[in-house]
Each structure stands twice: as structure tokens, then as C-alpha cells.
Symmetry: C2
Subunit: 378 residues, 2 copies
């Protein structure tokens, strides 16, 4: 059949499917606003809890609003024993597969299961935001043969995550860097995982289904895999003086240099700079300054390409931060998921508010109508 007259929008790249009050991304200028607030202000002045409130409620909280919100978050960190057992049963899987299954299973124990109202969706979304870090660290402990570390409610979201991961509290600098990393990953418009969540909500499915599906999408290397890719690259480069040759070789075989370029940004990814200083400090503190030096050398080698709109993205620095904290590479994407939770909750709530089935079309290019031949005559 002919599709000559049909406009095909492969990848839906420049197709607008709805309006949003979530975030504003200007890829040419390198601008990112969450609910109207510049990412630079939020990265420097806000906390993950406050930014989550902003994303979900659409305004910056007063002190008492933030306190109440934080109490909700802190009190929901534990996951049911049955979900711990499910994690135990699938402990040898990739952490993203475990996160997907455990998130899906949490719906079975949620007191608001079956209630798809905006109020219940918000409560479930906040609970999931609190529970996802616990899933990740519970799995990490179990596969290492240790007992999971129970969450603490006297720590911030980021500090508690690091505490559950390491079994001991981190210093304030490290907690703040993790907090900033979560802020920078919290929301990014209709990226593939948020879009997936919206498509699921479009059928009036619930938030557990939507976020499970979002996690499935994030698990794909083209979406969440960049931080892991950058760290692998840094390890392959090994020493700063090898960086220029490495970049040359990668480009010669027409491969991508990891952590550069973004579907949306043609200018610098405005999130990248906020992790840069953290990587520098952390790698010096840990007596491993070479990791920062390697990244700097890669940027230097890539400079001729910056003119073509190829700049570092947020994941360029994130991987080294995780690595220096002793986090194994296969937990990098789950950490992205922890950060993205408030954005997914926001996208789900906004889709619900003015909902519509998201059902684009495929242009048929297969054979014309075929005669059915009985099997004996084939």
C-alpha cells in the first residue's frame, strides 16, 4: 500500500502532543526551568525535598508546607516484607529489572490501591518517591549477602539513601552532592520515560502502572545509560594523557563519545556544570584527582565539536560521582530513577488532569490483501 501522501514523524521528534506547566526546556539557549524556576537557582539554593514539592504542587512551599511534605516522605520509606521477599527471589537480575518488578508489586500493598482519584494518585506518588530508594538499597544489600539497612527518618532523602547504601552516614558535602544530583535529574519534560508514563495514564491506568512502565523505558541504554557509559569510558581511558587519542579513535570509527550530545540540547546542558565542581572536590578528597582530570581532558579533546552543538550533558559528571562513592555501575540508572520520581509523579498528575488516550498511527506499507491458502496447499 502506498504511504506517499502521509507525513511520517519518525521518533515524534518535533511533534507537540500537549501543553504543560511542568518544565520549560530551551535546547538552543540551554535553559531549563522547573515550574518557572531556573535550574541554576534550584541546584544552588534548593533541596530535593523542596524541589519535589515545587514540581508536584507547582509552587515553592512555605516552611510549614515543606515540613508537612517532608514528614510524609520520611514516614513512607519502609517497604513491606513481602516486597523484600520478592526482591530476594529475583536478586540476581539487573537492578533496573528488580526495581521494575518491585515497584509494580508495591501497588499490591498500597492502601490507596484501586483509587485513581487525583488525591490518591498524589499520595501513591509520594509513597513511591520514598520507597524507590529503599528498593534499590535493599536489593543491593541482598545480592551482596548482607541484611538490608532499614531506612532512617531523621535524615534527608539523599542522606538516607546514602546511609542505606553504605550502612553508615556520609559527610555533609557528600550528602549535598547527592541531593544536587537528585534535583538535577528530577524532571525533564516529555523525555521517553515520562512520555511512557503519560501514555499509560492515557488509558486511565494507575500511577503504579505508569511509573513501572516509566522505569521500563528508563532501563533502555539510550535513555538512562549515559552515566554508566561515561564511567566505563573514564575507566578505559585510565590516565588523563590518553584522553585525546581515545576521543580521536572513537570519532574515527564513527562511534559516540559518551556523555556528549542530547536529543534536546544544542547548547550546554544547563545541569552539567552543577556536578562539575562536585566531581573535582570529591576526586581530590578521595585522593583520586585523575578522574576529574580525565573528564576535563575529554572535554578539551571534544572542543572542536562544541560548535556543532555537541556539549557535555548532565550524565557526563554524574557517573564519576557515583563511582567515587563506591556505587557499582549497574546502580547508576536506578539512581537516575530515584531522582526522576517527582518528575514522573508530576507528569502523571498533569496527564490525569486533562486526560486523553495517546494513540498515534502507523502507516501500513505491507502487502495488499492476500488470499488465504489452506495449509495443505502452501
Amino acid at each position: 500500500m502506498t504511504t506517499d501522501k502521509i507525513d511520517i514523524h519518525r521518533g515524534l521528534a518535533d511533534v507537540y502532543f500537549d501543553r504543560t506547566e511542568s518544565s520549560f526546556i530551551d535546547g538552543k539557549e540551554g535553559t531549563l526551568l522547573y515550574r518557572g524556576y531556573n535550574i541554576h537557582d534550584l541546584a544552588e539554593k534548593s533541596t530535593f525535598e523542596e524541589t519535589s514539592y515545587l514540581l508536584i504542587h507547582g509552587k515553592l512551599p512555605t516552611r510549614s508546607e515543606l515540613d508537612a511534605f517532608d514528614v510524609d516522605l520520611r514516614s513512607s520509606r519502609a517497604i513491606p516484607d513481602q516486597v523484600v521477599e520478592i526482591i530476594r527471589a529475583i536478586k540476581d537480575s539487573h537492578p533496573m529489572d528488580v526495581l521494575r518488578t518491585a515497584t509494580s508489586a508495591l501497588s499490591s500493598f498500597d492502601p490507596d490501591a484501586g483509587d485513581n482519584s487525583p488525591e490518591a494518585t498524589l499520595r501513591k506518588g509520594l509513597r513511591l518517591t520514598s520507597q524507590v530508594p529503599t528498593i534499590v538499597t535493599t536489593h543491593y544489600a541482598i545480592r551482596d549477602g548482607r541484611e538490608p539497612v532499614a531506612p532512617r527518618n531523621d535524615l534527608s532523602h539523599a542522606a538516607n539513601f546514602l546511609y542505606m547504601f553504605k550502612g553508615e552516614e556520609c559527610d555533609e558535602d557528600t550528602n549535598q552532592l547527592m541531593d544536587k544530583d537528585f534535583i538535577l535529574h528530577a524532571e525533564h519534560g516529555s523525555n521517553a520515560s515520562s512520555f511512557t508514563a503519560r501514555v499509560v495514564v492515557g488509558t486511565n491506568a494507575d500511577i503504579h502502572g505508569a511509573i513501572t512502565a516509566g522505569i521500563a523505558a528508563l532501563s533502555g541504554p539510550s535513555h538512562g545509560g549515559a552515566a554508566e557509559g561515561v564511567m566505563k569510558m573514564a575507566l578505559e581511558i585510565g590516565e588523563p594523557e590518553n584522553a585525546a587519542q581515545y576521543v580521536k579513535d572513537v570519532l574515527a570509527r564513527r562511534d559516540r563519545v559518551m556523555g556528549f550530545g542530547h536529543r534536546v540540547y544544542r547548547a550546554e546542558d544547563p545541569r552539567a556544570r552543577h556536578l562539575k565542581a562536585g566531581v573535582k572536590r570529591l576526586s581530590e578528597e578521595m585522593g583520586q584527582p585523575k578522574w576529574y582530570a580525565i573528564l576535563e581532558a575529554v572535554i578539551e579533546a571534544m572542543k572542536p565539536y562544541a560548535r556543532r552543538g555537541i556539549h557535555v550533558n548532565v550524565d557526563f559528571f554524574a557517573g564519576v560521582i557515583y563511582y567515587l562513592n563506591g556505587i557499582p555501575e549497574d546502580l547508576f540508572v536506578p539512581i537516575f530513577a530515584i531522582g526522576r520520581m517527582p518528575g514522573w509523579v508530576l507528569q502523571v498528575l498533569e496527564q490525569q488532569e486533562n486526560n486523553i488516550l495517546l494513540r498515534p498511527r502507523l502507516a501500513y506499507v505491507g502487502p495488499e490483501e492476500q488470499a488465504y491458502v489452506p495449509i495443505a496447499d502452501r
Copy 2:
């Protein structure tokens, strides 16, 4: 910010996002082709196994190809004990939530886990096609306090499903009607669940993630819920003579009559007629002819609206078939999922073949850049 100049395609309704060789749907004419073969031929002459082969491989099989394919399907029906335990842990949830979690968990036990090649994806897709009915009937038995019925490999896909559900073999007519129901639900282009699966694959995520996400989308009442809605309506109507008044009342309060209308079809849904005769026969055989009579009376009452393109869809007759087989209402959507499996597998494979990140845009209509005010000053 202004979005005056931006075209918004709400619901992506007439946006083509790619080419396909899967199925051709002409909503105006009421035509549906799977891989070029008319749904009427397939419903009347084919089997679910043969149609699955056609969908997945793109051609009708020879006898030996079909036999080999069927051996693969029959040998993969069992699910691991650990997944049975997971189902037990979440047994009180809605069957679609259980199906989503168990499908996600199956990835942890699949011998091809981590291999995203087309060959491994095909093997995983066939395994899932075989396993999904076992998940559904295992959960059904467990929540009823019975031991799950183990699958048999001497029965067809449809006959084995009914056997696992009832604990005894059904007669040939009933098996054939179930088989036909699965054929009619097997594939339908870029419906919301298949589109979800494609968006997930677009990030290079794997087929377990894609189909888990598809199940999440199908669980929404706007996608998979129609058969359940029709049966509830038939039960509310109670007797054929109440149908006309019921329809009048529903339309007077501007509600929808369930099982009528479809996002794509403006003519008759070509799948509907193939279940009609089955409902008639089955309801007579069971000594409950009134169910067929009620549906006929509803169609009669809706006739004035047929001119406006509102016709019965495939789910109009499906629900009564399930009901007469003693299948509880909350298993209707899982049965849709069982039927849709080969279509999802096909859509995943086709997306992988010429893959691209599916990332449309949202037009920002929120506030312009806001000044960040410290919390003490808010």
C-alpha cells in the same frame, strides 16, 4: 509563555509515527488485515497458533513450520516456582496488577535475560506468549484457595487456557470460540498498549520491560475495559425488554453505551461479527438465551446512532462469552492480554528493527522565569 504558533496534536490522534508491515486498519471501511490477510479469513479458517506465526514471522507457515512453532509454544507454558510464590504474595490484587508484576518478574528467570538481539527477543516473546495464560490461571486458582492447575502440552493454546482455568477440558466448540476470541484480539496496530511497548523499546529496553509496560497500559479502563463494561451493562439491563429504556437513559445523561464506538473504526468493527454467532450458540446451549437477546436489543436500540459511525466493537460480544464460561469479570482484561501477546511481540520486533527514541514534545504554558525567594521570605 506563548504557544500560539505551536500545533498541538492532543492524543496524537492523526499523527503517523512510523511505517509498519504489521496490520492495516481502514476505520472508514471497517477493514482489518493482519500482515495482509483479512481478519474474516483468519477468524474463520485459521487458529491462534497459525495467526501468531503469521503475525510474528510475516507469512503463513507450512505444516512443518507451524508444528515446530507450536512445539516451542507448548513447551514453554510452565512458570518458575519463584514466580508462583510472587503471585501468592500479591494474590489479593487486581489480576492485571498481578499479571504486570509476574510478567516483569519472569525476566529474572528467562535464559535469554540481558540479550537484546532480535533472535533472543523472539525467543523471549514466544516464551511470554506461552507463560501469560499460566500466570492468569495460577493467580485465579491461588486467590480461590486452590492449587494451580499445571499446563498440559497436548492441548492447543486456547484449550489449555480453558483447561487450566476450569481444571477440566472444555468441549471443542468452546475451545474454538476461545481460539477465535484470541485471534480477534491478537493485533491492532498502534493501539495504546502496543504504542507503549514501542516507546519502551525505543530506548533500547528489552521485551520484558516493553510488554510489562504494555500490560500497564492495557489495564486502563479506556483501553482494555470495554468487555467488562458490556457485561456489567447486560447484568444491569437484566431482561431484553429493559434494553431500549436503558439505552435511552444512558444517552439522556450523556454517558456512553459500553461496547459501542472505537477510536479508529467509524464503520462496523470487522471483528465483532465473528463472536456474535458464538454468543448466540453458547447462551442457548447454556439455557441462558436472554444474554444474546439483551445484546441484540441493545444493538436495535442503538441503530439510530449507527449513521453517526457508532457501531458495536469487538468487546461487545466478548464479555458475555467469558461470563457464560464462568470467568469472573476482573479476568476479562487479562484474557485480552493473552490474545494480544503475539501482536505485542510483533510490534516490539518491528520497532527494534528500525529503532528510534520516541520523544515528542510538550508545549510549555507555565509561568515565565520566576525569582527564587528564600524560604524564610515566602
